[in-house]
């Protein structure tokens, strides 16, 4: 009863869960244009994920995995379905998620092992894979209700059906580490813990010995995506777009959302996007207002590009941005390979290349 009254007053006064607020990009998240100014390493048809074995860069592009040694690309793997997640298997070979509904190992001693059901439930939107040192695979299954491509539907339905799974390469078993996640997208093995991104909850949480769902980073001003190890024990966390008050408002208006989802083409929803500015039918992306005789840009971002470097304790050390007026948006993966950071901007189907030492010198000195 008290809870219901609290909810009602919160909704009436715009407080608590009904406060339409968004954290600010400041401190280590202060915007810059580094991603926008980054060198374009490759432009591909349908890139989805990145992985590295320390010497080569692997890119999931449609139904194939490309291997880059330097600037030279060769096809390492060709499958029959689109690859939605990619990792280097611990004992050799590649682990891939196929259309979100299957995880399969290709090559190496466990070649051909696959999983389509874990803990009695079908894989539905498997989107990230991480190999652990002790021979397991950690997988995030974004949503149990919406397939991989319909992530925006899951957001607009306030989905909370994501799962974190552990797959044993040795015996082919699988178990559920966590469920009910607000779109699980991105996983990393951190010591004895597992970090998993909950995109719709704007946080990274840790699961491990005695720590279940403990936030590592919370209240992010963005929708986090995949995690990857960096040198010196740090982690790269990507975000495919940032939060806005407009979208937060829409997420709290059930009748509006329902009608929008029923009647409007998803490309024109008031919702986050991997890319924007393609048509005038999209919600307003940039505008200006006049203040004291000066035109000032005003840009509620719909798509954005962001990479963050996390310390092992979860502190954000620095961040790389492609701002609202940029193009390299919809960042879903970043891996560090031989001192170079490769970033996948899915919105523009580009892979960007940034020298890490130069970044550190520029941002930390």
């Amino acid at each position: 009863m008290i809870g219901a009254l609290r909810t009602w007053t919160d909704q009436f006064l715009g407080r608590g869960a009904a406060a339409i607020t968004v954290p600010i990009f400041d401190g280590a998240l202060k915007p810059n244009q580094i991603l926008e100014q980054a060198e374009i390493f490759a432009e591909l048809e349908a890139p989805e994920d990145l992985a590295t074995d320390g010497t080569s860069l692997f890119v999931a592009d449609g139904a194939s995995v490309l291997r880059y040694d330097g600037d030279t690309a060769t096809t390492a793997v060709q499958v029959d379905r689109r690859i939605t997640g990619l990792a280097i298997a611990p004992s050799g070979g590649l682990a891939v998620a196929l259309d979100g509904t299957e995880v399969r190992v290709i090559g190496g001693p466990n070649d051909g092992r696959s999983w389509t059901r874990v803990a009695g439930k079908r894989l539905n939107a498997a989107n990230a894979i991480c190999a652990t040192a002790d021979g397991r695979l950690l997988v995030t299954d974004g949503s149990q209700t919406q397939p991989y491509d319909r992530w925006c539907h899951d957001l607009m339905s306030l989905g909370r059906s994501g799962r974190l799974l552990e797959l044993d390469l040795a015996d082919g078993s699988g178990r559920e580490i966590a469920n009910g996640l607000a779109y699980a997208f991105g996983v990393a093995s951190v010591g004895k813990d597992v970090w998993v991104c909950e995109s719709w909850a704007h946080r990274v949480v840790a699961h491990g010995e005695g720590r279940w769902g403990l936030p590592v980073v919370s209240r992010l001003p963005c929708y986090p995506s995949r995690l990857a190890s960096a040198a010196d024990g740090d982690y790269w966390l990507t975000a495919f777009t940032c939060r806005t008050q407009l979208v937060e408002f829409v997420l709290r208006q059930k009748a509006y959302r329902t009608r929008m989802m029923r009647e409007i083409d998803p490309r024109y929803w008031i919702a986050p996007a991997l890319t924007s500015g393609n048509t005038f039918l999209e919600p307003l992306q940039g505008a200006h207002l006049k203040m004291r005789g000066i035109h000032k840009p005003w840009a509620p971002p719909r798509s954005y590009g962001l990479v963050m470097r996390l310390a092992p304790d979860g502190l954000i050390r620095y961040s790389l941005h492609s701002r609202v007026d940029g193009k390299n948006h919809g960042v879903v993966a970043a891996v560090e390979c031989y001192g170079t950071l490769f970033v996948l901007a899915k919105g523009r189907r580009r892979i960007l290349k940034l020298p890490v030492a130069e970044l550190e010198r520029r941002l930390l000195s």
Binding site: F12, L13, G14, R15, G16, A19, I20, T21, V22, P23, I24, D26, G27, A28, K30, P215, S218, R219, Q245, I294, L315, R317
Partner: protein
């Protein structure tokens, strides 16, 4: 030889036998701008108060245009042509600006509308943006100061004494003020100007007098001074190695986000403002008066309330908090060190120890039935030593302390609460150079200890000397962020104005 318009010979003023000024020979030349500088307690205010008839001299002579006078009241001094604009506002808070301007000059049949029109015209000639119909108690510190200045100008005094006139003014307002001072000079008015801001002294003065410990150290033309010589004369030692006025060359890395303000709204003052304060760092907040910086932090600390509906969120360690009064904020670890220490900072008739202990008690949940004198003594002694509060004893009343020590007392009251987030609002306003150095060192020490520190200041060199990151506020929200290393005065000021 020019006859001084005001001259003091062997002027001495003692309070309870203790000299505040001693054997001072001071000459004020007609039409000059003469700046008095010195640490708090150096005797600047006493010297000028003696001229303005606020306090009588214990011994010595005062001459106006060669004629010996002994003004016993400010009214007598005003009739002799000397007016003083006080550091502490002397306006009647319940009256309007216009009524305050014309107080004591009312005609028998007074027409309110006529006063408002006259006041409006007069304020416009001074380029002061103050509504003559506004009640003084509702004005901010800067606007009250403007009214004080306007009133002195209105009285057509031959000598106008300004005691710390620019302390509460924004850079834009300061420019207007200096234009006004130069205007007064052009009209033949002589100006005495007390200031802690040495750059101002070097900028506007014709001559500068330095006082120290109640004695006149030196009087010279401003061309013969530079900043180092002034500081040397004021404190009697070289402060060039201290933090005062120096730019930062390194910055601390940010710790975890401790205080986060999201889309805060508070009436017309704060408009959708968002910012974060991180542990182990000093976050400097700069902005002109009315930019909403003070109000934002007052809301965070529970001193004032945000909008009832859709007022935004304040988060402490990522948990939403909403304080209606400061006490729960203090218990949670947020303290606000006020910009107006005399009004909000301490109980001026209570002792140092009592004031600190009251701060200590504020941290407790609920009212204490019994208070311990011994505990109060121990707490006070610890804080007095830590902050180097200079007083004869811990039982000295707060009102008897110098400005710098009063400010340290306000900080001590806050630090005794062992806060996690400390918000300093104008921490060195009206404080002498030596105290500034000590307060800056303390603020740096707090950040080094891992506290989340926010410093709100209108003084750009202070913001730049202290801050690891600088937020600039304009029109109710943060509009720009600079790291300490990339910030320049020009960049900050540009962001604050445009």
């Amino acid at each position: 030889m020019t006859v001084p318009i005001v001259e003091l010979r062997k002027a001495t003023k003692k309070y309870a036998g203790v000299p505040a000024i001693e054997d001072i020979d001071f000459a004020l030349l007609p039409g000059e701008i003469h700046t008095l500088v010195g640490e708090n307690g150096a005797g600047k205010s006493t010297l000028t108060k003696a001229m303005a008839g606020v306090v009588p001299l214990t011994s010595g002579q005062m001459l106006i245009e060669g004629r010996e006078v002994q003004p016993q009241t400010p009214v007598e001094a005003l009739h002799l042509g000397i007016a003083m604009v006080f550091q502490e506002t002397s306006l009647v808070p319940t009256m309007t600006v216009a009524q305050n301007l014309f107080l004591g000059q009312e005609r028998f049949f007074n027409r309110l509308r006529g006063i408002y029109i006259a006041a409006q015209q007069f304020l416009q000639t001074l380029q002061f943006d103050v509504d003559p119909t506004a009640t003084v108690s509702l004005l901010g510190a800067a606007k009250k100061q403007m009214v004080e200045i306007a009133r002195a100008v209105l009285h057509k005094a031959k000598v106008i004494i300004f005691d710390e006139p620019t302390a509460s003014l924004t850079p834009e307002e300061k420019k207007y003020f200096f234009d006004l001072v130069f205007n007064l000079k052009a009209r033949g008015v002589t100006v005495i100007f007390i200031s802690h801001a040495l750059e101002e002294a070097l900028l506007v003065s014709d001559r500068i007098t330095v006082l120290r410990d109640g004695k006149l150290v030196v009087t010279d033309r401003k061309e013969n001074f530079d900043r180092a010589r002034l500081v040397q004369a004021m404190v009697g030692r070289d402060l060039s190695q201290t933090l005062y006025g120096q730019r930062k060359t390194t910055m601390r890395p940010a710790g975890k986000r401790v205080l986060s303000i999201e889309n805060l709204r508070m009436a017309a003052m704060v408009k959708n403002n968002s910012l974060s304060v991180f542990a182990g760092q000093i976050t400097g907040v700069f902005g002109l008066v009315g930019s909403g910086r003070t109000e934002t932090f007052k809301v965070a600390a529970g001193v004032i309330k945000r909008d009832i509906m859709y007022g935004g969120e304040v988060l402490l360690n990522d948990k939403p908090v909403r304080y209606l009064v400061p006490a729960p904020a203090i218990r949670d670890g947020i303290v606000y060190v006020t910009e107006d220490r005399k009004l909000e900072g301490f109980f001026e008739t209570k002792s140092i120890a009592d004031n600190i202990y009251l701060g200590f008690l504020a941290k407790m949940r609920g009212a204490r039935k019994l208070v311990s004198k011994r505990e109060a003594t121990q707490v006070a002694e610890r804080l007095i030593e830590r902050l180097n509060i200079r007083a004869i004893s811990k039982d000295v009343k707060a009102i008897e302390l110098s400005g710098g020590n009063q400010q340290k007392l306000v900080i001590a009251k806050s630090l005794v609460q062992e806060p996690e987030v400390i918000i300093f609002d104008e921490p060195t306003r009206g404080v002498d150079v030596n105290a500034i150095t000590e307060i800056h060192q303390l603020i740096n020490r707090l950040a080094d200890e891992g506290k989340a520190v926010a410093v709100v200041s209108s003084y750009l060199p202070e913001v730049m000397a202290l801050s690891d990151r600088i937020l600039v506020c304009r029109m109710g929200k943060v509009v720009e962020e600079f790291s300490a290393l990339e910030a320049t005065e020009e960049k900050i000021m540009y962001a604050a104005i445009h």
